[in-house]
């Protein structure tokens, strides 16, 4: 049975699409057949982050409307086996995603895939609700910053009351906290909320901490999910996150200030 994981946050710009791409790619690298679904109708961007923007022919809404089938629509990643992308539609019709339509598509994907990653749009409107409605697990992407933490708490409320699991009275969605853009130097100076602070406020288990990293922008510039940059701190932090999602216990890295060596002090870096 496929596991449906929603990547959500409430607030925009915190790294949902980056995280969806990185986690999906990491799962596929670990040998699990994975599809990443872009729920951001009208503001399609997962294709750009994954570097397949010129290969989009059909989209999610075409499949729902029966204008194309899944096989025609899914884009197979050229770098990683077992990895597929379902692009969002660029339509301006807000009601393009119906609950029945989404359910039909997810059911069909579930026959073929081990993991379905739902990349949620920002906000708490219909699109975000649709992305989380069918989820089994949720990765709540949060920046160590007041508005992001508050919005994450809002989304946690939605996860526990507006999902299918909540409506049916089933086991609750398993929630995970993913802290992104973490800057240990500023935390040490008392200028940024620490991992412990955010965890204390949101009170959900931590699945990963991604350091603020130049690798993330470099990755999106070139359309490479950051997990493929395995030398980078962010790439490694995402791979650790994926390993934890798969049930492994992995020590957290990149939480403290890296001590600069003499050469780095002199030459910078």
């Amino acid at each position: 049975m496929a596991k449906i994981i929603v990547v959500t946050s409430g607030k925009g710009g915190v790294g949902k699409t980056t995280s969806s791409a990185a986690i999906g790619t990491g799962l596929a690298l670990s040998g699990h057949k994975t599809v990443i679904v872009d729920f951001d109708i009208g503001l399609r961007n997962l294709d750009l982050i994954m570097g397949c923007e010129r290969r989009v022919v059909y989209d999610f809404v075409n499949v729902i409307n029966g204008e194309a089938n899944l096989k025609q629509t899914l884009i197979k990643d050229k770098r990683v086996d077992n990895l597929f992308i379902l692009p969002a539609s660029q339509t301006r019709d807000k009601d393009a995603l119906t609950k029945e339509g989404v359910e039909k598509v997810l059911n069909e994907l579930a026959k073929d895939f081990e993991f379905i990653i739902c990349d949620s749009p920002a906000g708490i409107e219909a699109g975000a609700m649709m992305a989380l409605y069918f989820a089994d697990e949720a990765v709540v992407v949060t920046n160590p910053e007041v508005s992001s933490v508050r919005d994450s708490d809002r989304i946690l409320g939605m996860l526990s009351s507006k999902s299918r699991r909540a409506e049916r009275g089933e086991d609750a969605i398993k929630e995970h906290l993913l802290l992104t853009r973490y800057n240990p130097e500023r935390v040490a100076k008392g200028e940024m909320l620490s991992v412990e602070d955010v965890q204390e406020i949101l009170a959900i288990p931590l699945i990963g901490v991604i350091p603020e990293s130049q690798a993330v922008l470099n990755a999106s510039n070139s359309g490479q999910p950051v997990t493929l940059d395995q030398d980078s701190d962010a790439g490694q932090a995402y791979l650790d996150t994926v390993s934890r999602l798969l049930g492994n216990t992995v020590d957290f890295r990149f939480l403290t200030v890296e001590k600069k060596g003499l050469l780095k002090r002199i030459f910078g870096g």
């Binding site: 007041v146 935390v187 909320l193």
Partner: protein, 86 residues
Amino acid sequence: MSLLDYFRSTKKKSASTAKERLQIIVAHERNRRSGPDYLPQLERDILEVIRKYVDIPADQISVSLEQRSDELSVLELNVSFPDEKR
């Protein structure tokens, strides 16, 4: 370095301010979320009734519903009246 730290530590760090503010607003919003849907409307209605008699700003009233046990919920109404005697 240590001297610098000494001076720095006298000022309150912005991260701890952020944490305190978040703890308060998140607790407030969770409370509201867990309460019944009619609570905000009830709060507005009560405010209107009191305003008929005393002029108080909206933030001087708070209404909360606390579940004490399975059978007992307590509706708590807190109104701060202005200083001057009427």
